[in-house]
């Protein structure tokens, strides 16, 4: 699929996955890939500090939108902006926009929102999603990327709209929840990209999350991103014990310890690669969604150069996708 078409399919892309799988890195990579395809993006962070801005070499995000990457340059890339969304700020804005600014200060002072939010749980989530919906309506960017809360909470987060529709039957919260649900369940407006590692537990949890999101929220699922796959090294597919033999053949005159290190490192890579392939295959078997693999970054720096690498891998992955949408159940 042409990356520009992929990113134009829905304005909102929600990136979700369990803690530690690299959700934030993938969000940043997707923004960069969209920029290279000529589409501007806005990244929204909802869970406090996550190191996302550092990937762009910038200071941590704030509620005020900031530029993360100006666009232009040799590639003629589009711009990337970022911001956070907190329930308190979103509520303040909501009340102001609805002529209720008189109570807004009182409601927020000393955490009164906690009391109201306890009375109707999901209200914080709906405040955030409501704001996302507003940004979508205003077309603030070609792509709005939401770095969702970690795993289990992602389901509750996205289910908030449905739950609130039952709890609060009239008034502005009700219509807000209805609008949010409309957006979440419309594949031309919103899709969820799930992220996992090629490991057993993350794969299991991803499969559960995928079915929950599709069945209970009714949201459309995009490709699954498998993060941290060891890249293949050409020529590194033989028996690890070959090191000494290869060294002898190459006349490299290796010390014994060096040959042992080479062999052990090769053995480790080959073993882990096999384990990863097994998990990737298991994921494909249990979840009929297209996969995009991202390489493990040995530099482990998570700075701008890594971001370019991830964006390139995502673009390549998107190009291999078919143009047809896949449904988990189909």
């Amino acid at each position: 699929m042409d990356p520009a078409r992929f990113f134009a399919a829905s304005r909102v892309v929600i990136v979700a996955g369990k803690g530690g799988v690299g959700k934030t890195t993938v969000t940043a990579g997707l923004a960069r890939a969209a920029a290279l395809a000529g589409l501007s993006s806005l990244i929204i962070e909802v869970e406090g500090k996550s190191g996302l801005a550092a990937l762009f070499g910038r200071e941590p995000l704030t509620y005020e939108q900031v530029e993360l990457s100006p666009g232009g340059g040799r590639e003629g890339a589009a711009d990337i902006r970022g911001r956070t969304l907190t329930p308190d700020d979103a509520l303040l804005e909501y009340l102001r926009d609805h002529g209720l600014s008189r109570i807004s200060r009182r409601l927020l002072s000393g955490g009164a929102l906690d009391v109201v939010a306890t009375a109707a749980p999901g209200i914080k989530d709906i405040l955030i999603l409501g704001k996302v919906k507003q940004l979508e309506r205003e077309k603030v960017a070609d792509v709005i990327l939401l770095d969702a809360p970690a795993a289990g909470h992602a389901i509750t987060f996205l289910l908030a709209a449905r739950a609130l529709l039952d709890a609060v039957r009239v008034g502005p919260i009700n219509s807000q929840a209805r609008d949010v649900l409309d957006m979440l369940t419309d594949p031309t407006r919103c899709q969820v990209v799930l992220v996992t590692l090629p490991e057993e537990t993350p794969v299991n949890e991803l499969v559960d999350t995928a079915y929950h999101l599709e069945d209970r929220v009714g949201v459309s699922l995009g490709p699954v991103v498998v993060n941290g796959v060891y890249p293949i090294i050409a020529g590194l597919d033989a028996d690890p014990a070959m090191a000494t033999a290869a060294a002898a053949a190459a006349g490299a005159g290796l010390r014994r310890a060096e040959a042992d290190s080479l062999a052990a490192a090769a053995g480790f890579r080959l073993e882990r690669t096999a384990l990863q392939r097994e998990q990737v295959a298991r994921l494909a078997d249990r979840l009929p969604l297209p996969q995009i693999e991202l390489p493990f970054l040995f530099s482990a720096d998570l700075g701008p150069p890594d971001l370019e690498l991830l964006a390139a891998s995502l673009t390549a992955g998107i190009e291999t996708l078919s143009d047809l949408r896949t449904d988990v159940r189909s």
Binding site: A112, A150, S261, F268, F298
Partner: protein, 358 residues
Amino acid sequence: MTSLLELATTAQVVVCTGSGGVGKTTTAAAVALEGARRGRKAVVVTIDPAKRLADALGLEGLTNTPTQIAGEWRGELWAMMLDTKSTFDDLVVKYSTDARQAQRILGNRFYKNISGALSGTQEYMAMEKLYELHEETDFDLVVVDTPPTRHALDFLDAPRRLTRFLDHRLYRILMAPTRGFVKAVNVAAQAFVRTVSKVVGGEVIEDAITFFSAFQGMEEGFKTRAKVVLELLSDPNTAFVLVASPRRDTVEEAEYFARRLGEAGIGVRALIVNRMHPTFGTGLAEAARERARTLAGTDIGALYANLADFRLVASREEEHLSGLAELVAPAPVVRVPFLRTDVHDIDGLTEVGRHLFG
């Protein structure tokens, strides 16, 4: 400097904390297992909603009371998954003046939301359960893990947070109509309640008012309990163990946790770093990369390219960790390598234990 083994043999309470996906649950279970091996009666409590501990212990599912796990060890190993709501229910029953008050609260919709959804409740109830197991049962080692969020240490504020919630101004405003405050306050309060009702619906506010009036008289019991729980957490026989992985972002999270604990006057007693890449030999990544370049296209070149990758990642991991290790000093740093497979049985925990306890 105490070793981790010493903690497993002598500490009465061990709290494993850290961000999501770093192996807290597995670590907690391994510590409890080691305790049992050393002849102690150990219980591990998980508050992780994903049933990972159940996986780790090969259990089908855990209830809110400990279940014993059979095995070949001198002591006893028990496990349980925290049920936040029933733990809170038990507390309500304990501190209510009579059965009728308890029933009024337990049946209230607002209460159901508090016990299930108020941020911090889960953390607070975990500490409550920990206290209960420590004080009211004969376990001599209680190991608990914290939820996989940045808010995991909210329990340090949780007792205060909950009581602050009950002391809240909005609460007093909501209660004003029934308490016969002076008229002026009452009018303002009513107007406020009306506006809030307009936004969230009247039923919601009614539920809240009913809850707060039912709760009257119970605050003191809750506050006292919260205080003794906090005291247990700062007791020298309670050890906080920080669990991390060597990625830059998770190390930053771990540093945040370490500082948070420090602010609460609690020291980290051990740092466990899971998922470390192994080191192969002693050379530098750059040297290996250089040889890979000159030998490019040959088998040996590929081997050097691979070695360079792993030397690079290992050195980066150590760089990431150095600041954290300093921050938690003199706590020992225990490195656990990448394991061949995920841990979901006692054999797996035993292997983790070999790395943890030497």
